[in-house]
């Protein structure tokens, strides 16, 4: 207890020191402001235009700075940090190529509503617009993929801009905010006056929903015979998972969770139906198509969920609860729109809502479908099956790990076979589908949760897009456990070429990839390889027991497909189940 008191006091002392009104440089203002915003960890890569900032960071101990090996690694790590913690992720890069290397990561965060503050250097204001060395118009380039952006031309604006950026990033519908700081601004000195208030006239997200809309929803629930909830990432981001559980417990309405909604509702609960959409469960998809009331809570009716829009949920009265009014009615006509924060909205509804008494037969129907059409695959004792590997990872980690994935087949299998019971445990690029995201995002997740087990599941393709970050795991002893599901091919592309393009396999062969064990060892990370179940379990358990980072390569069957699958142009109840294989 004494210890804790001391820690608290020293933290207050740090803040006091940061707030001290002194004449300092723009760089120092940036660092102090970050600490005052509560930033504990920054991911970055130095370069010419941020030299003043990195000079100010020399010997600076009030937050961690992790030097990645590529700016893309830095921004995905900041993204993983934000998704795992709910805090704003921060990364720093230099002008020109440093900044443009962040673009994919910014777009990834934007599509999945992840709060980031992205700091880029730029050439000095007098050089802007002259095609100077390492100049890029990064605010212009990122305009369509940022929630907001600033080009700071006057050091006096810096404290306000940074404070606004953190506020905008982490309120309303969250998202990345970029601050571009020209070199002369980071060098210029002024009296630091911390900003603690926000006054942005054009920005005032609706948190509390309108009562009449809630009454309509409560009435609709009381009348429904076949209600279903579609819960998305908004539940996780608003911290509304407990309210969702209470809502479901009170109403008895079955729940399907989108890719980003996994973990928003405990998978062990009987009313959980799995994930909907292109690779969703039979029960989720049938439930959406047959329901008479579809309650969308913080999902955005993405095309991978709805598939063919005409004929989506054809019998349903649609309710949509979202913090972003622009998502309501964008893709699916909505009878009851509810704009508000998910947590706040569900709490208000829970105070009044009752059990959906008309839905007993429907609930039985759900259980019947789940029994008749479970997720399934044909196991093998000869070849290692990726689904088996994911199930084994689930079991050996008791479903308690933070799991990050890359994009493709392994991502879908992880979504299907790792069963989450807690929010912020599942980190995946859903909207943009960014290969190369899986591994660096795990580094960020681990930095945010030093005491939790972080597992990164990757394919052999995506792993090679950011493998260089193995270096920072080794150097900083960041104990991420990396699983590489190696099928020697770009699996999801192969699956589409097989099913949709008549087995015309075009440029998907990844033969000649490096020996992943040696690759890991080259960076000083422990490496394992497994080609059968016995080796797989032994290697994985050894990796888990190892105190530092570890890479386990699972050599799996090449021609394995993800099922169920809804092909494009079909409604979600037209599913290939894969049983004929």
């Amino acid at each position: 207890m004494v210890m804790q008191g001391e820690v608290k006091r020293s933290k207050e002392e740090i803040m006091e020191r940061m707030r001290k009104p002194e004449v300092v440089s723009g760089s120092e203002i940036l660092l102090r402001s970050l600490v005052l915003e509560g930033v504990e960890c920054v991911f970055g890569y130095p370069g010419g235009a941020v030299l003043f900032i990195y000079d100010a960071m020399h010997g600076f101990k009030d937050f961690n700075h992790l030097l990645t090996r590529h700016e893309q690694g830095a921004i995905h790590a900041a993204d993983g940090y934000a998704r795992a913690s709910g805090q704003v992720g921060v990364c720093i890069a230099t002008s020109g190529p440093g900044a443009t290397n962040l673009v994919t990561g910014i777009a990834t965060a934007y599509m999945d509503s992840v709060p980031l503050v992205v700091i880029t250097g730029n050439v000095a204001t007098s050089f802007i617009g002259t095609d100077a060395f390492q100049e890029a118009d990064i605010t212009g380039i990122t305009m369509p993929i940022t929630k907001h952006s600033y080009l700071v031309r006057d050091v006096e604006d810096l404290p306000r801009v940074i404070h606004e950026a953190f506020h905008i990033a982490n309120t309303g519908r969250k998202g990345p905010v970029l601050i571009d700081i020209p070199k002369d601004v980071s060098a210029a000195k002024t009296l630091f006056k911390p900003v603690t208030e926000v006054n942005i006239r054009g920005y005032n997200p609706t948190v509390t929903p309108r009562k009449p809309q809630l009454d309509k929803l409560i009435k609709a629930i009381s009348e429904a015979e076949r209600p279903v909830i579609l819960a998305g990432g908004g539940v996780v981001y608003s911290g509304g998972h407990e309210e969702l559980l209470e809502f479901v417990t009170k109403t008895g309405i079955p729940v399907t969770t989108t890719l980003l909604g996994l973990g928003a509702f405990p998978s062990a609960n009987d009313l959980w139906l799995g994930m909907p959409g292109m690779h969703g469960t039979y029960t989720s998809n049938k439930a959406i198509q047959d329901c008479d009331l579809l309650i969308n809570i913080g999902a955005r009716f993405d095309d991978r969920v709805t598939m063919k829009l005409e004929g989506f949920a054809p019998k349903a009265k649609v309710v949509h609860i979202d913090i972003d009014p622009a998502e309501i009615g964008k893709n699916v006509p909505t009878e009851i729109p509810i704009v508000g924060d998910i947590k706040t909205t569900l709490a208000l509804i829970n105070a009044e809502v009752g059990y959906a008494t008309g839905a007993d037969a429907w609930r039985q129907q759900m259980q019947q479908w789940k029994q008749e059409q479970p997720l399934r695959y044909v196991d093998s004792e000869v070849e290692l099956k990726p689904q088996w590997v994911i199930s084994m990872i689930h079991e050996t980690t008791n479903g308690e790990a933070i799991v990050t994935t890359d994009v493709g087949q392994h991502q879908m299998w992880a979504a299907q076979y790792y069963r989450f019971n807690k929010p912020r445990s599942w980190i995946t690029s859903g909207g943009l589908g960014t290969m190369g995201f899986g591994f660096p995002s795990a580094i960020g997740a681990q930095m945010a949760n030093p005491d939790r087990l972080v597992v990164s599941i990757n394919g052999d393709g995506g792993m090679q897009m950011c493998a260089q970050e193995l270096a920072i795991c080794a150097i900083n002893n960041i104990p991420v456990k990396v699983a590489i599901i190696n099928n020697q091919v770009l699996g999801m592309v192969r699956q589409w070429q097989e099913i949709i393009y008549d087995n015309r396999y075009s440029h998907i062969d990844l033969a000649g990839s490096p020996d992943f064990v040696k690759l890991a060892e080259a960076y000083g990370v422990k490496g394992f390889r497994a080609t059968n179940k016995e080796e797989a379990e032994a290697a994985w358990k050894e990796a888990l027991a190892h105190p530092g980072p570890a890479v386990v390569e699972f050599v799996v069957r090449k021609h394995e497909n993800v099922y169920p699958m809804v092909t494009q142009g079909n409604t979600i109840d037209v599913m290939l189940m894969g049983d004929e294989e």
């Binding site: 305009m143 369509p144 054009g202 622009a326």
Partner: protein
């Protein structure tokens, strides 16, 4: 049903704000028939008037997406209520001295003005709704139009309709 909408957007007078708004229209596939920008009644705020074509659903999306821009303060569908729409055009017409009286007759009928007379051309300035300007152009076409420059529509609701 597709029709033209005239919307007024009150924005912070910040560098890049026109790019934010026009970029949003471009990437979301919203059409811009015309766009005008200028000062508003309040210091620090600019008023854009954008004419876009589409249906009610599209207009709803345009408005909601615009509101997501931090620099957008207010979006009003001016065309939803009675409004005054005005545009200014400068039209340079070939005009030999012999043709001038006839052209001046057209100009007078439209309450337009001749703002420049050259050796073989006239510049006609006309103010009005887009239809009036279209009509004026058609009438001047036979004389030989050298150049047209139109400002795009600016608009305001009549009377005390709140905006």
């Amino acid at each position: 049903m597709n029709r033209n909408y005239t919307i007024a957007v009150l924005v912070n007078d910040q560098p890049g704000v026109l790019q934010r708004v026009s970029g949003l229209f471009g990437r979301r596939g919203f059409n811009i028939e015309s766009i005008t920008v200028g000062a508003s009644q309040e210091a620090g705020l600019s008023r854009m008037v954008i004419v876009t074509a589409g249906d009610d659903k599209l207009l709803e999306q345009v408005s909601k997406q615009l509101y997501k821009l931090i620099d957008v303060i207010k979006v009003v569908d001016v065309s939803a209520s009675p409004m005054v729409e005005r545009e200014l055009a400068l039209i340079k017409v070939s005009a030999d001295p012999s043709a001038r009286p006839e052209i001046l007759g057209v100009v007078e009928t439209f309450r337009a003005a001749v703002v420049d007379i050259g050796p073989s051309t006239l510049i006609v300035q006309v103010v009005g709704g887009p239809e009036k300007i279209d009509a004026m152009i058609e009438l001047l076409r036979p004389y030989g139009i050298r150049e047209i420059s139109r400002t795009g529509v600016t608009a305001m609701n009549r009377g005390t309709v709140k905006s």
